[in-house]
Symmetry: C5
Subunit: 373 residues, 5 copies
Amino acid sequence: MAKNKPRNRHKHYNVPEPGTSPGSYSIDKDALRPKITLHTYNEKTHKKEELKDINNIDKLTENQDFNYWFDIKGLADSSIFETLYSKLNISKLVLEDITSSYQRPKLDEYDGDKYVFAVSRHLYLNEDKDLCNEQISFVLTSKCLITFQENYDDCFNPVRKRLEVGKGNIRIGGSSYLMYAIMDVIIDNYFSLLNHWGEELDSIEDRLFDKPDKRIMYDTQAIKRSLITIRKVTWPERDKLNDILRSDSNLITDLTKTYIKDAYDHCIQIIDFIESLKEIASANIDMNLSIISNRMNEIMKVLTIISSIFIPLTFIAGIYGMNFSREDPVTGKILKDNMPELYAEHGYLYTWLVMLVIAIFQIIYFWRRGWFK
Amino acid sequence: MAKNKPRNRHKHYNVPEPGTSPGSYSIDKDALRPKITLHTYNEKTHKKEELKDINNIDKLTENQDFNYWFDIKGLADSSIFETLYSKLNISKLVLEDITSSYQRPKLDEYDGDKYVFAVSRHLYLNEDKDLCNEQISFVLTSKCLITFQENYDDCFNPVRKRLEVGKGNIRIGGSSYLMYAIMDVIIDNYFSLLNHWGEELDSIEDRLFDKPDKRIMYDTQAIKRSLITIRKVTWPERDKLNDILRSDSNLITDLTKTYIKDAYDHCIQIIDFIESLKEIASANIDMNLSIISNRMNEIMKVLTIISSIFIPLTFIAGIYGMNFSREDPVTGKILKDNMPELYAEHGYLYTWLVMLVIAIFQIIYFWRRGWFK
Amino acid sequence: MAKNKPRNRHKHYNVPEPGTSPGSYSIDKDALRPKITLHTYNEKTHKKEELKDINNIDKLTENQDFNYWFDIKGLADSSIFETLYSKLNISKLVLEDITSSYQRPKLDEYDGDKYVFAVSRHLYLNEDKDLCNEQISFVLTSKCLITFQENYDDCFNPVRKRLEVGKGNIRIGGSSYLMYAIMDVIIDNYFSLLNHWGEELDSIEDRLFDKPDKRIMYDTQAIKRSLITIRKVTWPERDKLNDILRSDSNLITDLTKTYIKDAYDHCIQIIDFIESLKEIASANIDMNLSIISNRMNEIMKVLTIISSIFIPLTFIAGIYGMNFSREDPVTGKILKDNMPELYAEHGYLYTWLVMLVIAIFQIIYFWRRGWFK
Amino acid sequence: MAKNKPRNRHKHYNVPEPGTSPGSYSIDKDALRPKITLHTYNEKTHKKEELKDINNIDKLTENQDFNYWFDIKGLADSSIFETLYSKLNISKLVLEDITSSYQRPKLDEYDGDKYVFAVSRHLYLNEDKDLCNEQISFVLTSKCLITFQENYDDCFNPVRKRLEVGKGNIRIGGSSYLMYAIMDVIIDNYFSLLNHWGEELDSIEDRLFDKPDKRIMYDTQAIKRSLITIRKVTWPERDKLNDILRSDSNLITDLTKTYIKDAYDHCIQIIDFIESLKEIASANIDMNLSIISNRMNEIMKVLTIISSIFIPLTFIAGIYGMNFSREDPVTGKILKDNMPELYAEHGYLYTWLVMLVIAIFQIIYFWRRGWFK
Amino acid sequence: MAKNKPRNRHKHYNVPEPGTSPGSYSIDKDALRPKITLHTYNEKTHKKEELKDINNIDKLTENQDFNYWFDIKGLADSSIFETLYSKLNISKLVLEDITSSYQRPKLDEYDGDKYVFAVSRHLYLNEDKDLCNEQISFVLTSKCLITFQENYDDCFNPVRKRLEVGKGNIRIGGSSYLMYAIMDVIIDNYFSLLNHWGEELDSIEDRLFDKPDKRIMYDTQAIKRSLITIRKVTWPERDKLNDILRSDSNLITDLTKTYIKDAYDHCIQIIDFIESLKEIASANIDMNLSIISNRMNEIMKVLTIISSIFIPLTFIAGIYGMNFSREDPVTGKILKDNMPELYAEHGYLYTWLVMLVIAIFQIIYFWRRGWFK
C-alpha cells in the first residue's frame, strides 16, 4: 500500500562521521555542479555574468563603487571553498557549516567586522508534494554577499528581478539589505506553506463530516509532521533575526535593521500560525476518534436492535418446533400435557400475537432510549 | 451536510506575494470605498464633518487649539496613503502594515516623538455567527489621531457618543486618551465574546446530560477554534499595552497611561478567562468521550443480556426439534434411545422448567454484576 | 435530569457595557443595602458601633490615637462612594473596581503614600455546595482600613473576635496588620476548600473501585472546574502578596511584611496543592476510562463465550431438525442417503456427545486465553 | 474490595483553623512525648545524654569549646517551645512552623546572624508500604543545632554513628555541616524511594506483557501519586539548598556550602529521575489502554468469526426444517413446488456441500483479513 | 514471553548508601581492572605507552614541553584515586563522582585554575541493542588530561588516531582541545543514535500501514524510553558546554571555546531532534489507537451485517418449522387457522421471496450507510 504512506519522513542529513576532525568540510557525493552568477550593481547600474569559478574573487570585487552578489547554486566544487579560505580568510568551521547542510538558522560574526556568516532554511514542496528542507548559506562582507544553495531551483527570482529593475531599496541598501531581501522571501514562503496546510486541514475537516475514512488520520499526521519541521526551523530563525537586530557589526546597516524588525514580526506571526494549525490538527484527530466511536455506537445499535427483537421471537418459534409427542408410541396413551398449544384452535394466531407484543414492547423500549434517533 | 460544517475557519489573509519589495503597500481588490469623518474637538466644543479625501490634512489640522480625529472606514483609496507619506512623512512600512490587514496587535514608535503607530484587532460575530477578525490601525501624532478600519460597521459608537457629549475625560485627555478609549472598547468586546462562548459551553454541557449527539463535538471544537483565535490576539495585545505603559514617547500622556494600566489588567483577565474556557471545553470533550463509552457499555449490556439468556434456550428448543426417529423405518425396530424425552409424560413441562431455571440463573448473574442498574 | 447537572458553572460577572466611560462606577441592581460597622481601637481599647452612612468619615477618623476599621457589607449605596471620592480623594478607577466585582486579586498604590487599594477574592461553598466567588476590596490609609464585601456572611468573625479580645498583634500592628489578618483568613479558607475537594476526590476514587457509574465523571469534572476557579484566584493572589512584600509604601509596616511572607508561603503551598489535586483528578478520569474499557471487555467476554459455545450447537440441532425425506413420496423409493443419522440406533446420543466435545473444546480454549479469570 | 484501594492518599495535615492568630503554635493532640538526646562533641570527643527537658538549654550550651546537637523526637511538650521562645528568642512564627507540620522545605534567616530555621521533609515507606511524609525542622545557631521530628523512627542513624565514630568532616565541620549531613541523608533516601518505584514500574510493565489485569492501572496510579508527592517536596528542597548556597549568614560555613552544592546536584538528579518515572508511568498507562483495546479486538474477532460462519448455516438448516406440506390436506392434491429439495435423492448431501462451501468461503475471507493471526 | 519485553529499562546505578559520609568514594565490586594508556605528545611527536599504575604521575608529567593524556579504562584500582588525592590534590568529592557513575554531565572548577572536573555520558547500543549509559570523567590540569571510563570499549578511536597522525588542531590545541575532541565524539554519537531511532520509527510507521500488531506499541514505547534517557543526558550536557563557554578558567583556551561553541550548537540540534522524534512517536501511538479502533469498526460491521441479515430470515424459517396442528387429534376437527401457509400451493416460494426482499432491503440499507466501503 505504498501510496498510503505518509509524506515528509524524517530527513537523513549529511551528518559527518563521529570523530571527524572539526572544521574539515566534506562535499556530499550527490552534490550538484555549481552554477555561479555574479551580480555587480550600484544605485544606477546592474550587470549579471556567469562565472566558471571564483578563483579571482579578490580581483572581481576590487572596485569599491559597486556591490557584488555571488549567487552560487550547487556545492560540488571544492575549489570554491579553498578560494574562500585562502583569499577571504573564511574560517574552516564556516566552510564545514556550508557543506554539511544540516545547520539550524543562525548568525555568526567573525573576526570583528570582517565578515558575517548566516544560515537560512528554505522550505518548499517539490513536485511529489514532499516537504523539502534546503540550506541557504550567506557570507556577507562589506561590499559583497555570497550565497550558497544546494539545488538549482529556488524562490529568489523576485529578488533577482527587483535587483535588475532597481525597484525599492534593493540597490541602495547595500549587501546587508540584499541578504535581508533574500531571507525575507524565504520567510514569506513559510506563509504560503502554512496557508497550504491550513486549507488541507480544512478540507480534511470537511471529509470528516462527509465520509470519514482511514486516510484522514494519515493525512492529518503528515501535516503535523510538516508543522513539526517548520516549527523546528522557525524558532531558530526568530533567534537569528533577533541576533541581527542586536548585532553591533557595522556590516549590517540601520536601514537593514529597520526591515529585519519587520521580518522578525513575520516570524512571530508564523510561530503563532503554526501553533494554531497544530491545535487544529489535534482537534481534528480528537474529532476523528469521536466520530469513529459514534459510528461504532451506531453499528452496535443496529446489531442490538435486530438481535434483541428477533432472538426472543426465534426462541418462541423454536419452542413450537419441538417434537414432544402427543401420544406415547408404546402404550398409545394420550400425553395431553405435551404441547397442548399446538392443538388449540387459534394457537398459531395467538403465537403471532405474543410475538408482536414482544417486538412492539422492545421497539418502544429502544425508542425511549433514543436509539432510533 | 453543509450546515454541519464548523464555523470560524482559518482566515486567509491578504498576505503579500513572497518576494514583493517590502514597504510597497497594495490595496486589497475587495476593499471598500473610504468614508472619512473628521472630529474637531477641544474641552468645550466638538464638530463633526464628512470629508471626501484628506489631501489637505496639513491645513485641516493647523489650529493647535483643537484635537483632531480622522475616522477612516474602508481602505480603497491609495491617495490617502500617498498624502500620509508626502505630508506627514509616515513610513512606507507603516502604510504597508495598514493595508496588509494581517498584523498582530503592536506598537511602533517612529522618528523620536513624531508619531506612533499601533494596531488593534477587532473581533466580533457577524450575522452568521462567524467570528470576524478586523484590523484597526492607529496613527497618533501630537494633536491628531487617524484610525483605519476595513469595514463600515464597528463598535466605536459609544466612544463617538461620549466625544459628542463630552462626558468624562474623553475631550480633556488629548489624542492619546482617545486612542486608549477606542482600544478599551475593543478589549471590552472580547469579554462579551467570551461570555457568549462561556454560555454556549454551558448549554453544550447541558445537552451532554440530556441527549448527547454528534453535533456536541463539532460545536465544542468550533468554540475551541474561536478561543485559539482570540488568544492569538490577546497575547500580543497585552504586550502592546505593556509597550504603551513603558513608552517614553511624550505623545502618550500620564493620564492615558493610568487608564492603559486598567486596560492591561482587563487583558490579563481575558487571558485567564480564555484558559479557563479552554479547559472547560477540553473537559466537555473528555466527558463526551466518556458518555459515548458509557452508552456503548449500555448497548452492549442489552445485547449481551438478551443474547445470553435466549441463545441457550433456543438451543434447547432446537434439540427437541430434531427428528431422530423412534423406529427404524426398515426393520421397524424401536430405537428407544432416540429422544425418549419426547415421549415422557411431562417432557414438555420439564423442558420449560429447565429453561426457566437457566434464565433465572442468568438473570441473577447479571443482576449481581450490576448490569441492570 | 436536572440533579445530574454539575455545580460551579462559569460565573457571569457584572461586566460593564463595552464603551462605558472608564472610571464611571455602576452599582449592581442586585446589590444589598450596606451594613456599616466602625471599629475604633488602639492597643488598649476597642469600640464597635453601627453606622448609617460614612458621610462624616473625616470627622470620625480625626483622632490620631486610634485606628479605624470601616467594615462595609453590601454595596447598594452610592453615597458611600461619593463620600470616598469627595472626602478621601479616592480615584474613580478604584471606585469602579470596588463595584464591578470581577477584579483579580491585586494591589494598587495611589498618590504616593496616601492610600493603597487591594482586592482579595473570598471563595466559599454556599448551602447548595456551589462555589461562590466574592470580592473583598480594601482601602488602606495611614490610620484607617475600609473593607467592602458584597454579601452579609463572611469568614472574618475570628478576626473581629481577636480584635475585640486584643489577642496577638491585632491591635498593635496598625491598619496594615489588620488588612493582613483578613487576607490571611481568606487564604486559610482556600486550604479548607482544597481539603474538602481532596476528600471528595478520595471518595470518588473509592466509588471507582466499588461501583463505577456515570456520576463519577460528572463529579470529577465539577471538582476540576472548582480547581480551575481557585487557581485563577491564587496566582494573582500570590502576585499581590509579593507586591505587598516589595512595596515601598510606608502604609505597610515591616511587622506586617514579616507576616505577609508567611501568607505568601501559604499561597505557594496552595498552588502546589491545587496542582496535585488536578493531577489526581486527571488520574481518576484516566482510571475511569480504563475501568469502563475493562468492563466492556468483560461484557464482551460473556457474550462471546455464550454465543460461541451455543451457536455451533444450535446449528447441529438445526441440522437434525431438517425434514429431508427418507422416502420419495411419489415413487415410494427409499432415499437412504437422506439423513441416515436419524435412523441410527444411537444417533441421538452420538449427537449429544459431539455437542459436548465441541463445548468442552471451546471452554478449554477460552480458559487458556484467560477469559474466565 | 478494601485491598484494591490505592495507597498514598492525600494527607490531611494539621492545618490551623482559619482565622487563628498567626504565630500561635498549637500542638497536635496525636503528638508523641518528646525524647531528647543531647550530643556534645568537638573534634576529639563525643558525649551522648538523654534529657528530660531543655529548660536549662542556656546552661548546657555555655561551653564554647563544643558543638551541641539537641535531637528531639516527638513534639508533645509545649515547655520545649516556651524555652526556645524565652531563652533563645526564637520567633513565634518559627515555633508555629515547627508544630504545624505541613511546611514545604524552606530556609529562613532571622535576626541577622542569630539563628537560621530550616525545614526538610522526610519521605519513607512505612510497614504497610504507605508513603509517609514527615517534617524535620532545624534551628541552627552558631554552636548548636536543634532538630525536631514527629516520630521516633528516622533514617539518621548513619549520621549519629559517624558522629560517634568521628569519621570524615562530621565533627570538624561545625553545626552547619551536621545540618547538611542530615539533609543529605534525607535526600539520599529519595533516591531509594525512586529506585523502589522504578523497579515497581518495571515489574508492572512485565505484568502488562504476561497477564494484564485491572490492578495494573491501580498500581500505576498509586506510583504516580507517590511521584506527585515527592516532586512536590523536591522542588522547594532544591530552592532551599540554593538559598543556603547563596546565604550570607556566617552560621553556614564555606565547607558546608561546598557539600551543599553536591546535595543540590543530587536534587536536580532526583527531579530528572521523577520526570522520567512519570513519563514511564504514563507510557505504561497508554500501553495498558492499547492492550485492552487489542484484547477487545481479539474477543470481537472470535465472536464474529463463529457467528458469521454459523448463522448462515443455521439459517439453511432452518429452511429445511420448515413444514411446508407436499400435499393439500383437504384436496389431497400434490403441491410439488413446496420444498421439492426434501424429496430429492441426494438433497441432504447437497445441503451439506452448500454449507461447507459457505463456511470455507468465509474462512478464506477472514484468513485474508488476517483475523486468524 | 521474554522476547517481547522492552529494552532499555531504567538503570540501577551504583548509588551510595544513604548516610554514607560524603567524599568517601567506593569502588563498585563489578568494576573492571584498569587499563592505563599514557599519550605523551606535542605539536611534532606522539608517544603511546601502557602503564601499570599512575603512582609516579608527578614524575611522568614533569616535562612541560609535552601534553599528557592518561586514558584510563576500568576503575577497579583504588590506588589510582589515592595517587590523585595525594599527588594532585584532587578533591575527594571529585573522586566520589568519578567512581559513583551516576553523575549528570557537569563542569566543576576547583581551587582557582588548578584543575577542572567534567563529566560526559557516553550513550551507545550494545550487541543486544540495549541502550548503555556509561560515564566518562575528565580531570584537566594545565598540561595533562586524565579520562576515566567504566568499560574497555568506547568510541574514541577516531580521536586516538587523529592524535597519532597529528591531523588538524588535535596536537596543537593543548589538553583542553583534546577534552573537547572527546566530548565532541560523544555528542556526535548521539546523532547516530537518533538517526537509528528515527529510522526505526519510520519502519514502525510502515508496519502500522501494512500489518498493525501488538508489538508496534511495545517498540514505540521502547524508543520513547530511549528518547527520555538521551534527553535526560542532553539538557545537562548543553548546560555543561555553556559553562565551559563562559568559564574564566585559563585551563580552557580560546581556540577550544570556538570549537565548544560548535558542539553547543550540535547539542541544541540534538534537543530539537529529540523533541521531533518524541512527537513522531506520540503520533505513531495515536495512529495505532486509531487503526485499532478502525479495525474494531470493521469487525463489528461484518458481524452486524451478517447477523442482521440472517437473524430475521432464520426467524421466518423458524416460524414455518413450528408444529401447529391442522387437525385436533381428539376431535379430528380441522383447525384451518393453524398455519394455513404451509398448505398453500406456492407457500414455499413466497416465503423465499419474502426472505429475499428482506435481505435486499437490508443490503441496500447497509450500502447506503457506507458499510461495504
